[in-house]
């Protein structure tokens, strides 16, 4: 055992036992951040805060929510919304945060893509981030089910049915996932477990991993300059703060993050108090009915793009059924972002505006995702079906040509 002398303060007492001074250095005061980054790099802190809001508001909701097909709808729409003091506030905070968290995730993701932050040495940051996105998607979907309204029910019906596309065991797999022949009480209770326990725990673990992945390659910067963090940190610590290209995360850099967070929270609470309806689909205020499908079902806005890829393929090609093509395309859309660091064949880390071909690719992808999102909400009939098909095809083609485009960019630069 280490030698303990009498401590003169609580801080010293903890430091002797937990080495808090060294921990504080590694995590905060000597965690180095490049100076050359803009507000888009604040999204990590925004996401951590939003996740905190989700956990805390979720705890309060869970105290009154009843995971039972006969009670769930009223426990949300009567007990929480009408009886519990400020229950409406916690529900709206939870619902709006669940929607806004995806907006910030998308900004965070596309910032990474634009500045090449997923490349050479930073692959694990990207992969752990995409795993977080997938787990957040699962958490968002399982939570959407819990109020047991019509949209909840049919979303569960459609999503669980997707597993029917698995060869051979598909039908049995769907019954197993639901725990019944259709979406029923067993389905609700197991999704409740996933939403309030298993998925949040997995998310917390992945957040830890995601932070840790930054430790060795460090944060990228606006010009994608390759900074020698050790040398720059040396400069900073020796007092040469002006020349050093880095600053400590705490207390210097965090002040910028907190400024962005302040603006974000104004926007967030504006939504919570004045526009919470955007995260509350009117159809979901009808109790779930397994014998009536709503006229038009669609997911929340953040899933629309992949939903449109799923249903974009509406005709059979030879012996291959449209359903299977759509399902394969959907699987492709959800998995392909994981492989991005390996599809980008340009050996240099550069922001998109310094890579002409990639820059065009990036903005076409942005426009395509917006088109997919808009058409994902419209009924898939007539011309809409064709727009959906073309934009879903374009999405797939973009990823297939990415290695060629990035290779060509590198060649043109003479690399």
């Amino acid at each position: 055992m280490a030698k303990f002398t009498k401590a003169n303060s609580v801080g010293e007492w903890l430091d002797q036992r937990l080495n808090t001074t060294a921990l504080n250095k590694v995590l905060m005061t000597e965690y180095w951040i490049p100076k050359d980054i803009n507000f888009l790099w604040a999204m990590g802190v925004l996401l951590a805060t939003t996740f905190g809001i989700l956990v805390i508001s979720g705890l309060f909701l869970m105290m009154y929510y009843k995971p039972d097909v006969n009670l769930a709808f009223d426990s949300v729409n009567y007990t929480i919304m009408q009886e519990v003091a400020y229950g409406w506030l916690f529900r709206h905070m939870h619902g709006v945060a669940a929607s806004v968290v995806f907006l910030i995730i998308y900004i965070h993701m596309f910032t990474g893509i634009y500045y090449g932050s997923y490349k050479q040495g930073r692959e694990m940051i990207w992969i752990s981030g995409m795993l977080l996105f997938m787990t957040f998607s699962a958490a968002g979907f399982s939570g959407y089910m819990l109020p047991w309204g019509q949209m909840s029910y049919w979303a569960a019906m459609v999503i669980t049915n997707l597993f029917g596309g698995v060869p051979i065991i598909g039908d049995a797999l769907v019954v197993w996932i639901r725990g019944d022949f259709n979406v029923a009480d067993a389905t609700l209770t197991r999704f409740f477990m996933l939403h309030v326990f298993l998925l949040p725990i997995v998310i917390m673990g992945l957040i830890g991993l995601h932070f840790y992945t930054l430790r060795i390659p460090h944060v990228n910067n606006q010009s994608s300059e390759d900074i020698d963090f050790d040398a720059e940190a040396e400069k900073y610590l020796s007092g040469n703060k002006k020349e050093s290209k880095v600053i400590p995360f705490w207390p210097i850099f965090i002040s910028k993050d907190l400024a962005v967070l302040g603006i974000f929270l104004i926007f967030y609470f504006y939504l919570v108090f004045f526009h919470y309806n955007f995260a509350m689909d009117p159809v979901n205020f009808d109790p779930a009915d397994n014998m009536v499908t709503p006229a038009h079902i669609y997911p929340e806005w953040y899933f629309l793009w992949s939903y449109e890829v799923l249903r974009g393929f509406f005709f059979d090609v030879g012996p291959i059924k449209a359903f299977d093509i759509g399902l394969a395309a959907f699987g492709f859309a959800n998995a392909i972002f994981l492989l991005l660091p390996f599809l980008d064949r340009d050996p240099a880390v550069l922001p998109a505006y310094k890579r002409p071909g990639f820059n065009v690719w990036f903005w076409i992808l942005m426009v395509d995702l917006i088109v997919l999102t808009v058409y994902g909400k419209l009924p898939p009939t007539g011309i809409n079906a064709w727009v959906g098909f073309v934009s879903a095809m374009l999405f797939i083609i973009l990823f297939l040509v990415l290695p060629i485009i990035t290779k060509a960019d590198a060649k043109k630069r003479g690399a």
Partner: protein, 166 residues
């Protein structure tokens, strides 16, 4: 035992084998927890009286929480080898869930149309438009007189099921 395998390796392999058996057994247990409960499996039979059904107006019966379409065909409707023939009447029996993603299609004049993704099924349950990959599914049933029992595989069911496969 060969010379390069010592007692510590042996203990390691033994532990790994015990852990693998325990791990596999736990997975079986976890899989079974998510299986449908016996009460769910037992509640899977529903009887339907076909005598009161009007031609050309499909009725919907709930079986295992799913809608079942029973349509008595009118004279104008095309015959199909999935028709259930009882006396002079021809019936279409189908699970009323779109074979694309499971929405319930609604009867519009002469066909079932699915609002979700635009799939359409004719009076014989065959897909005629949109993304559905196959005709409406056939629920297992047996027939005695004018009564249909859903959940049991009778000879009429087997005949229609094999005709649909061909």
């Amino acid at each position: 035992m060969s010379n390069d395998t010592n007692r510590r390796d042996f203990l390691g392999y033994t532990f790994a084998a015990v852990a693998a058996v325990g791990g596999a057994a736990s997975l079986v247990g976890m899989k079974k927890v998510w299986d449908p409960l016996p009460s769910v499996l037992a509640g899977g039979f529903t009887k339907v009286d076909l005598s009161g059904i009007k031609a050309g107006e499909p009725s919907t019966i709930m079986w295992r929480g799913k809608p079942i379409f029973v349509l008595k065909k009118t004279a104008e409707m095309e015959n199909s080898d999935r028709d259930l023939v009882i006396g002079n009447d021809r019936f279409t029996i189908a699970i009323g869930l779109c074979t694309h993603l499971g929405c319930i299609p609604a009867w519009k004049k002469s066909m079932w149309k699915c609002a979700c993704h635009g799939g359409e099924f004719d009076a014989s349950g065959k897909q005629v438009f949109g993304p559905p990959p196959r005709p409406l599914d056939l629920p297992p049933f047996s027939v005695s007189g004018n009564t249909l029992t859903l959940g049991e595989e009778g000879p009429e069911y087997k005949k229609i099921a094999s005709a649909m496969k061909a």
